[in-house]
């Protein structure tokens, strides 16, 4: 297990490095720069600004300085757009927000999704099954950019129960809509996968053996059926965890949470190189780490993988 972990970690480092280099060059090749504006800056002013941010250096030198700053000083550089702040600031402020409701959405989506799927499989072809299946399909058909407007019109404008956006230090009223919007469609997928996996497991030979031995239904499901059922679910949960964090871009913008999604999209549009690169590295590293954890969990669940 240890050597497996180490091998996976060693692959992760060059992956992130390649991501940084590719992103850096792609970003600089996109037309326009951070200081392109409707009002073209006089050449002397532009020269001063480029000198201040090191943009007058050759690209390889900029990349080198950037990497040195990250690895030696753990400094992702200044924001070109938000002059009062640097990238470390922006990530430190936005990431905890995205992480908080992303994590909550993940918990909600997996808990309800798994429960729904398991119930549906156990009560196969009953009204509970049909209800769970239709709920799952409906949820999957409602991506967050559809859920957002529906929620805000319902809870803010009509019922006047919840504030239409903001964060306010993460008070629960401000969390409800972002979490629902973000978790719904994943919840649908998780329940669908759980249901079909559970059905397959329940029809397999070892369950029949367990039944023949006279084990109670509860014991069969909890002790024997659940673990193999969760195998495909776990491999799906890894990507879901990454999606709820990175896919929160729309939710961040729509509900003005102050999360990292706004900074991410904004920096791409305004060519705020340092912010864009910083957030990309963060998301990239996160994806690699979560995939690693998923694989380890998978290896724990299924010893075949380890060898």
């Amino acid at each position: 297990m240890l050597s497996y972990t180490i091998r996976r970690l060693l692959v992760a480092i060059p992956t992130i490095f390649l991501l940084v280099v590719a992103c850096f060059y792609m970003m600089h090749f996109a037309p326009g720069g951070p200081f392109t504006s409707e009002r073209p800056l006089p050449p002397a002013v532009m020269a001063n600004i480029e000198a201040r941010y090191g943009l007058d250096q050759p690209l390889w030198k900029q990349l080198w300085d950037y990497l040195v700053n990250i690895f030696v000083h753990f400094d992702f550089g200044p924001s070109f757009k938000f002059k009062d702040r640097d990238v470390n600031d922006i990530i430190a402020q936005g990431f905890p927000i995205s992480l908080t409701y992303g994590f909550l959405s993940f918990i909600v989506a997996s808990a309800i999704g798994v429960a729904l799927g398991v119930t549906a499989a156990i009560k196969h072809n009953s009204w509970i099954d049909y209800f769970a299946v239709s709920l799952g399909i409906a949820a999957q058909a409602l991506p967050n950019f559809i859920m957002g407007p529906i929620l805000i019109l319902t809870f803010t404008l009509w019922l006047e129960w919840l504030p239409g956006g903001g964060w306010n230090g993460g008070q629960w009223q401000y969390l409800v809509m972002p979490v629902i919007a973000l978790s719904t469609s994943y919840m649908g997928s998780i329940s669908r996968i759980t249901r079909s996996s559970m059905l397959e497991v329940l029809n397999s030979n070892f369950i029949r053996t367990a039944k023949a031995k006279g084990l109670s239904n509860r014991a069969i499901i909890w002790r024997h059926a659940l673990k193999p059922t969760l195998m495909p679910v776990v491999s799906y949960l890894g990507p879901v965890f990454v999606y709820v964090l990175t896919g929160s871009v729309f939710v961040d913008i729509y509900f003005s949470t102050g999360g990292l999604g706004q900074a991410y999209v904004g920096s791409a549009l305004s060519r705020d190189y340092a912010v864009l690169l910083g957030v990309t590295i963060l998301y990239g590293a996160l994806t690699v780490v979560v995939n690693l954890i998923t694989d380890l969990a998978y290896a724990w669940l299924d010893p075949k993988i380890r060898y």
Partner: protein, 513 residues
């Protein structure tokens, strides 16, 4: 004080599209940032509700005969929020700082635009910043020397770049000086909270010299990227002000009379022909340019597409520009049927008709509103003239780069005045202007604009420039902007007549409901 019963809660909450770039007066470069800075800091002069110049930190100014030396007298009672007196030295420090290449503010150009002595050389790094033509004659007298006469110089001191800066605080905190808790400011408000991408809050500055006459206690700017969400939150009572999305004004005005408001803004919306060598040969024919300009039914665009109180444009400078009434052009007096007939005739003379259609492409930056207008224009041209237009939308920075490199045929343009004077618009068509993306060249226009800089009354020059634009049609003016807001009816004294929309929270108040 206002003659109306005031609300107990004097909090004004409004929506901003995007997080402000900075609250450092010399650094800020976006509109929402400048609005915040205008509350936090006070410059030499302010604007009143109608955009007229009124005293700020300066009680008044004098100038020499040829408008090259201005002397401002500062009020002795003006204080920073830490209790220090605001002196002429604070202005000297701030203005040198704005020009300093080390700060590298994008607004260095504004100091250059103000024609302050040595500004250009300082920005180019040839001279030290302390050589800038500004001087503190004593603590309360500030003198500016210009390299060329500028009759509208005092108007420019209402711009945030020229606001004073607290030297001691900046030196003590460095780049962190604008954070709440560190920041010291001399305006009616101080920054008390900043949650990036979410909101910023400014509250009354007890040391402000005119604090007794200030009514609003707290101003909250909420960042809401999506304008429809902002509208929903406004309707749910979370906001006092938000922008009305394009096309929704008539419905909102019917449903919420007294809250949906519209008023003229100092901005124009136009399309520019590429007249450079890389542009299509056909646009070098003035008959083609005129035909296309004539066939655009501006009434449909302002009334049906935008529908927010925008006005049809037949001149380049907006009709709301102070001290200048654009001439009534021939096109403005015609009916649309007459314009269409003339357009068909001109295009036929140039050799194009429905059998031999004119073809070109037009570009705009990605936005629902720009798209609607471009589609409407291309349909009008197709129906009336048989013209075949290919539409291209581009992401903002790509669009700027493409337009700036003359890599287009017909491109969208828009401009908001930097100050309320016709030259801020007409200068765009000066052949030396960096913003003249269509590369229109007219020696007569250049000559008239150069002469206008020093003329006592330049309106005759501006009139002639507008006449040349109408005759040569290097651009197609479409409409002049309107500010279109949902504004809670309990907000008093919003400056609807200030076409630059330079508003000061200290002049607002909330009426008891």
């Amino acid at each position: 004080m206002t003659g109306e019963a005031l609300a107990d809660d004097q909090t004004f909450t409004y929506r901003i599209l995007d997080e402000h770039s900075s609250v450092d007066p010399q650094v800020v470069e976006d509109v929402s940032g400048a609005e915040i800075v205008r509350d936090l800091f006070e410059g030499l002069m302010n604007q009143d509700e109608d955009g007229n110049l009124v005293p700020g930190v300066a009680t008044g100014y004098t100038s020499n005969d040829d408008n090259t030396v201005y002397t401002f007298t500062l009020r002795p009672e003006a204080k920073w929020s830490n209790g220090d007196t605001v002196t002429a030295h604070d202005f000297v420090f701030a203005w040198r700082r704005a020009a300093d290449p080390a700060l590298a503010s994008p607004y260095q150009w504004f100091i250059e635009l103000m024609s302050i002595q040595n500004a250009a050389a300082i920005i180019a790094g040839e001279t030290a910043p302390d050589q800038l033509g500004v001087k503190a004659l004593d603590d309360h007298t500030f003198e500016v020397t210009l390299s060329a006469p500028l009759p509208y110089f005092p108007q420019m001191t209402t711009h945030s770049t020229t606001f004073p800066a607290p030297q001691k605080v900046i030196e003590a905190h460095g780049a962190e000086w604008t954070k709440p808790g560190n920041i010291v400011s001399n305006g009616a408000y101080v920054l008390t909270e900043h949650l990036p991408q979410e909101r910023s809050t400014r509250e009354r500055n007890a040391m402000y010299w005119d604090n007794d006459n200030t009514i609003v206690d707290k101003v909250v700017a909420l960042v809401i990227n999506d304008e429809n969400v902002a509208l929903t939150r406004y309707l749910a009572g979370e906001l006092d002000r938000t922008e009305v999305p394009a096309g929704q004004f008539p419905r909102l005005k019917k449903e919420h009379p007294g809250e949906a408001i519209s008023f003229p803004r100092l901005c124009n919306y136009y399309y520019t022909f590429n007249l450079s060598d890389s542009g299509p040969e056909v646009f070098k024919d003035v008959r083609v340019r005129k035909a296309l300009a004539l066939a655009v039914d501006r009434k449909i665009i302002v009334e049906n597409v935008m529908a927010g109180g925008q006005t049809q444009a037949y001149s380049f400078a907006p009709t709301a520009t102070a001290g200048f009434t654009p001439p009534t052009t021939e096109m403005a007096t015609m009916t649309q049927a007459e314009r269409d007939a003339m357009a068909i005739e001109l295009l036929a003379e140039a050799g194009y008709d429905k059998g031999n259609p004119l073809k070109f492409n037009m570009i705009y930056n990605t936005s629902e509103g720009h798209k609607k207008i471009a589609v409407a224009m291309s349909q009008m041209w197709k129906q009336k003239l048989g013209v075949e237009v290919e539409l291209g939308n581009m992401e903002w920075k790509v669009f700027l780069e493409t337009r700036g490199n003359q890599d287009f045929e017909l491109a969208r343009g828009a401009w908001c005045g930097d100050y309320n004077e016709a030259s801020t618009f007409l200068d765009l068509l000066d052949s030396n202007s960096g913003y003249n993306d269509g590369k229109f060249v007219s020696p007569r226009v250049d000559e008239l604009l150069a002469a206008a800089k020093t003329a006592k009354d330049a309106s005759a020059n501006y009139t002639e420039v507008e006449q040349i634009i109408a005759a040569e049609m290097p651009v197609i003016p479409i409409y002049h902007y309107a500010g279109v807001y949902m504004m809670d009816s309990d907000v008093g004294n919003w400056p609807v007549n200030n076409v630059e929309q330079n508003w000061y929270s200290k002049n607002l108040y909330k009426i008891a409901e």
